[in-house]
């Protein structure tokens, strides 16, 4: 999910057109818009209303739904499961985001030296990004397997990576990082390429070394890129599901990998409980968190986190 900054939405000018012109276009416009509009209303807007209704309803898909008011909300917010899932999700995000951002920046800086072969490495790093997270999760489930798994064979150990409460979440986070570093690298590469050459030449003339140039010039100028990478990364990681489901389908040992998206799925469909009301409440809470992150992003962009180079 990527939300464009408001600046990316240019106002469409309507200079000196007559009212007649406006109305002549209208029927054609509505015909052209009809399918996409129907899709958005039916499959993106209406579900928000339905999920709000579900959150006030008790329904297990078999008996008819009954209205229970704030019951589900009280249950979710007072029982420990939801708090635990939120905590696990925040821990997951806290492991994934700094690591993938740091590694992505490192790889981008190394690639931006323009050494021969850089183009090859750049392409290689993106490969996991385009593959199905579910399939990659299954591959890593084998790699992590205590017996017959590649990692333990390599290390000569038989560690229970995915069934130990202490190791499961870091293992799941590592797979996430592994699949996303290349994506982050691409954005930092683009950011580095946008730094004007004369700025770096001027720094070199003033006797700045590579280290100083990085900390004093490149890193500050990468501010907007870093911010974009952080925000989109946080939003995506809060929703992470596919590879976590593949690695630990039941929420992990003692719920160690029971992230919020997995909990929503398990409560609604996974455990046979079909507790749609609970799932709806948690989905709305997750939505609220993501909206707050997005609004903060917009605010921040509106204040323009860029350095004026002109």
């Amino acid at each position: 999910m990527t939300v464009p900054a408001p600046s990316a939405l240019p106002a469409v000018p309507s200079p000196g057109r007559t009212r007649r012109r406006r109305h002549r276009d209208a029927p054609v416009a509505w015909v052209l818009l009809a399918p996409a509009l129907a899709g958005i209303v039916a499959f993106l807007a209406l579900p928000i209303l339905v999920v709000a209704w579900l959150s006030l309803t008790r329904w297990n898909l078999l008996a008819p739904p009954t209205f229970v008011g704030p019951d589900n909300w009280v249950r979710v917010l007072t029982e420990p499961t939801f708090g635990h899932s939120m905590l696990v999700t925040v821990l997951f995000v806290a492991m994934v985001i700094p690591t993938q951002t740091g590694l992505g920046l490192l790889m981008a800086v190394l690639l931006s030296r323009g050494l021969p072969g850089s183009a090859f490495f750049r392409v290689v790093y993106v490969v996991p990004w385009i593959c199905a997270p579910l399939a990659l999760g299954v591959v890593w489930k084998w790699i992590f397997a205590p017996y017959g798994g590649a990692l333990n064979a390599l290390l000569g150990t038989s560690v229970e990576w995915l069934t130990s409460p202490a190791l499961a979440l870091p293992a799941v986070a590592a797979v996430s990082i592994w699949s996303q570093v290349g994506y982050v690298t691409l954005f930092f590469l683009a950011g580095l390429a946008a730094i004007p050459g004369q700025l770096l030449e001027a720094a070199a003339l003033d006797g700045a070394g590579a280290w100083q140039t990085f900390w004093r010039i490149k890193l500050p100028l990468l501010g907007p890129t870093t911010f974009f990478v952080l925000v989109t990364g946080v939003i995506a990681s809060f929703q992470a599901f596919d590879h976590i489901y593949a690695l630990t389908p039941d929420g992990g040992p003692q719920g160690a990998t029971d992230v919020i998206a997995a909990r929503i799925y398990l409560d609604a469909f996974g455990s046979g409980a079909f507790d749609l009301g609970r799932a709806a409440v948690m989905a709305l809470c997750l939505f609220a968190v993501l909206v707050v992150v997005t609004v903060l992003q917009q605010r921040f962009f509106a204040r323009r986190v860029t350095y004026d180079l002109s």
Binding site: V3, P4, V12, V28, V139, L186
Partner: protein, 285 residues
């Protein structure tokens, strides 16, 4: 073209200690990135007996296709591949056609309420799939469409707000003179859209085709929820199900992940330059 001079300088540059260290880090990164793919593919080429008796890191000896034969035979993997391919084709065509139509209306037509409506489109970009799957499931069940082909394609086939946004931005960049010239020549909206605008927007259309193919080949959560039983299973759902049934039959399971991953690796190999440049251009998620 790099001149011999720069090439010589770059070669000298490449041999400095700092550069060698950079190469070392880059190479370690590449090995870590590719090793899981290579190892899983090699495992898929082993006999279960070799896998059980030797190190999981051993080279396949003999190389066998029996896992793939079992996967497409008893494993029932033909249907998921066909279903997924159909879903991808229908969604790509529908989403592109309907998004192009909407984007053109937003970019070049004037009608009351246009800007407010465009903001509504942008606002729906914020709605995550995890939030909509539960209500969508109840909606599709209520009208008796769960576990059908329609359920797999309907939520996506009518266009995507993301595609509409990207296309509109691109369409706005097309010179108005070109459209006016076509209009003076007597072309109607439909002709202008498909004969003038879309050919000029070929790069962004190609990008969107690739994004949509990747997204829907890989899609998992919605097909997992809305399908039951093998009839409409997609490749990702079938892979997850197979892994659940054959927990330690890793040679068969790795054949399944190979089938789930390989088609996109081919797409990536063919279009890698285009994909890499469009990721940083569009944010592609």
């Amino acid at each position: 073209m790099t001149s011999p001079d720069t090439r010589g300088r770059r070669r000298r540059e490449a041999l400095r200690p700092a550069s060698l260290l950079a190469y070392l880090v880059l190479a370690v990164g590449a090995v870590l990135t590719l090793a899981p793919f290579l190892l899983s593919f090699l495992t898929a080429l082993k006999t279960p007996r070799q896998f059980a008796s030797q190190s999981p890191l051993a080279w396949p000896d003999p190389v066998t296709g029996e896992n793939f034969a079992e996967l497409f035979g008893g494993g029932g993997f033909v249907s998921p591949v066909v279903v997924t391919a159909q879903v991808v084709v229908v969604v790509v065509v529908g989403q592109l056609v309907f998004s192009i139509m909407a984007a053109y209306a937003f970019a070049w037509l004037r009608f009351p309420g246009r800007d407010g409506l465009f903001w509504l489109f942008l606002a729906t970009l914020m709605v995550p799939q995890v939030v909509t799957v539960v209500p969508l499931y109840t909606m599709f069940s209520a009208v008796g469409l769960s576990n059908t082909f329609w359920a797999l394609v309907l939520p996506f086939v009518l266009g995507s707000p993301y595609a509409v946004f990207l296309l509109r931005e691109y369409f706005r960049g097309i010179p108005a003179d070109l459209l006016d010239a076509a209009r003076i020549d007597g072309a109607g909206t439909w002709t202008i859209l498909w004969r003038v605008v879309v050919p000029l927007a070929r790069p962004i259309v190609a990008t969107l085709v690739i994004i949509t193919v990747v997204t829907h080949w890989n899609n998992f959560l919605w097909p997992l929820i809305i399908t039951t039983g093998p009839t409409w299973q997609t490749v990702t759902v079938a892979t997850a199900a197979l892994q659940g049934q054959h927990d330690s039959n890793w040679t068969l399971v790795m054949a399944a992940t190979t089938v789930a991953i390989a088609p996109l690796l081919v797409v990536f190999a063919v279009f890698q330059r285009h994909i890499v440049s469009s990721i940083s251009l569009t944010g592609f998620r």
